[in-house]
Symmetry: C2
Subunit: 412 residues, 2 copies
């Protein structure tokens, strides 16, 4: 799919969230993290941007989720988003809500826009109230740190990380109505990553002209095929949020499904989301490699999705991949417990190009070649059910000693 998608747009290798026209970004250290890394960041837009949000499905939704829903719900417009890391402001009661609304109000005031034009996002430890004195100080200093350049984007990217090891960004451009349109994104992941908006924050900027409703439609479609198809550990956080802002400054005719460039824009947006989602999976806590599961031949795409997610989420499969063990038995066991229609006689399994199971029967394969393949930094597991036309792809990572180390003492 990815190859077909890229035909519609170009990848901007050195692009960032400040590449689309109208956006500035930045970050600083205000003291919420114990390290000296940035822990407060913002993206702002020089005009009211059409906005869209996708949120965690967890029953317990952190205070910032409430605030962002409120802001985007108002007019579908945003002038900016403020983000802190180091503290999730989740399960923090009325004080937490007050703090999140205060973050919105203070930042809106600092950049001179209406409060309802600001989104708020937080990530980090659950159940502790924000040190608001530090947040207030940080917000006061933040506007001076915002810039429309690569450094501003880099500072923002650092400010949203928790246990992430690398920054996650993507940028593409395409032509609409003779104008160059950019779509860019930045994201953080790391643990508690699972379908339906797991612990991740994602931010998409674009200079395309598109309404809030249309942007929401496309963002949800893209999310279902990308962010909702990754898992690190099956846990879904209270704070997940993906926010998109469209400045409209590219000058294209406003995008609707009737616009000839609709599909190309949708493909570009999906590509940006897919790059970010795969980067989150590859950088899952303790991960040493990206694992991709491609399921085809299922009775439907939904069924293929369920199977792909079950395989990618299996601790036994993940451990085997970490150990470079071609243990296809665990793969088929995961396929078989996904609760989906499967013909137990017709399943093929390949690891990369190495066929290990054909029509549900093990066939001899070169163990050395399999070991070599599984030692690589990307492992693709192909499952063909020969049971229909449904297909899906999911991404995850291996389960390692470091996952346990990181999560055995996250708070300390």
């Amino acid at each position: 799919m990815a190859n077909n998608l890229t035909a519609a747009f170009d990848i901007v290798a050195d692009g960032s969230i400040t590449t689309p026209r109208g956006f500035q970004a930045g970050g600083l250290h205000c003291g919420l993290k114990k390290t000296t890394r940035h822990d407060l960041g913002a993206i702002i837009c020089e005009v009211p941007a059409s906005a869209a949000g996708v949120y965690t499905t967890n029953v317990f939704q952190a205070a910032p989720i409430l605030v962002t829903k409120d802001s985007i719900g108002e007019e579908g417009l945003l002038r900016g988003v403020i983000v802190n890391s180091g503290n999730a402001n989740a399960c923090t009661g009325k004080q937490g809500e007050a703090d999140a609304f205060e973050m919105r109000a203070k930042f809106a005031e600092a950049i001179g826009v209406p409060a309802a034009h600001i989104a708020v996002a937080s990530t980090g430890v659950i159940g502790e109230n924000l040190k608001m004195d530090r947040v207030r100080d940080g917000i006061a200093k933040l506007p001076a740190k915002l810039a429309a350049d690569v450094q501003g984007a880099a500072d923002f990217n650092q400010a949203i990380l928790t246990t992430d090891l690398v920054e996650k960004t993507a940028c593409v451009r395409l032509e609409l109505d003779g104008q160059v349109v950019h779509i860019a994104g930045a994201a953080k992941g790391s643990g508690m990553i699972h379908p339906n908006m797991a612990t991740m924050l994602g931010f998409v900027t674009t200079d395309a002209a598109i309404g809030s409703a249309e942007l929401t439609t496309l963002l949800r479609q893209a999310t279902d095929l990308t962010f909702n198809m990754i898992t690190v550990d099956g846990d879904t956080s209270t704070n997940d949020m993906l926010v998109a802002m469209a400045s409209g400054l590219a000058g294209n005719a406003t995008l609707t499904p009737a616009h000839p460039g609709w599909d190309a824009f949708a493909a570009g947006l999906r590509y940006v989301c897919e790059v970010l989602a795969k980067a989150i999976a590859r950088d899952g806590e303790g991960a040493t490699k990206l694992v991709e599961v491609q399921v085809r031949g299922a009775v439907s795409d939904d069924s293929a999705q369920a199977i792909a997610k079950t395989v990618i989420g299996s601790s036994l499969v993940k451990s085997a991949v970490f150990g470079a063990d071609a243990n296809w038995g665990r793969i088929i066991a995961a396929v078989g417990r996904a609760g989906q229609p499967v013909n137990p006689e017709t399943v093929d399994i390949r690891l990369g190009d190495i066929v290990t199971l054909e029509q549900s029967r093990p066939i001899g394969f070169d163990e050395d070649a399999a070991l070599e393949y599984l030692k690589g930094d990307t492992v693709v597991i192909h499952v063909d059910l020969h049971n229909g036309e449904g297909a899906a792809t999911a991404w995850g990572c291996d389960l390692t000693y470091d996952y346990v180390r990181i999560n055995a003492a996250y708070r300390t």
Copy 2:
């Protein structure tokens, strides 16, 4: 619940699967395991025993499952069960089926009973055909190893283990119609343990007089509250099987729901299953402790079960318990993604007696006391939703470096 249950029966501390009258057991090393531990075992009954089986829900069911269903399906009677470890005989095609049927036939012949009175169980690596020459040799030697004593039971218990570290057994007795009735069990677990009959083999013997249909009813009820409430890693194997045999030699009046001792027998059976299930959870691959999750105040027992299983299955919760980190935020996040009705304002969470969350608000607690509690070998997580009368208990274990080590190279 457990305290109430034990009122109806006595625990037989030194009891085993050969304690109920009529049963012999044994085991030997035939060469399926690379170590010298036993890998072939059997339980036999001197009379045709009423039989019941509960099986894996995995779409891919190993050949022995097919054979055992066939045997119990015939007349609801068993004279014995033969079990091998070291090879699961799963995903082994027609040859695997033929091998499983041959195991049944050969063992039936060796002890002089009809083939359909023998159940077969296998556990170990998936996708490799059994070394049937070794199995045949082992079966020929096995009858001489069977005994009605503790040693016979111990040999059997060893023969069913894979990566298990300890043998898992339980035995109770109760009085029915003036006769002493025993119920005993043995089980193996270790990885791939999840609700709905995960990688486990369980064997229950009793000298109670009870029909196959009634035994099946009680075995399923007990399984739903015990074996189906444990998880090690969320994976469900192709081979899980719980088989019960009732010799009837205790001489009680045949048990039916109308018998005054029905509830007591059911309680005893459930207790045996609960002891085995908890032992499997505690001995989960790499586990250092047993984790028990008690959910109450849910809208229904089913809802409580779903929530308890989600919490017990959370890799983040499991890692935190391993690290003795009182990270209740991960517990509430797991509660919130269980897909069940939860009032986000009314949740209490306790770790043992240490209250960490009240009405969904964190309350200050003694971190040192929590650390001390979490360092113990049993951790009980209490979740009260204050949202109804539903309650459930689930068991699991912590996620450790050793889980990863064991599963990164299981086949090698």
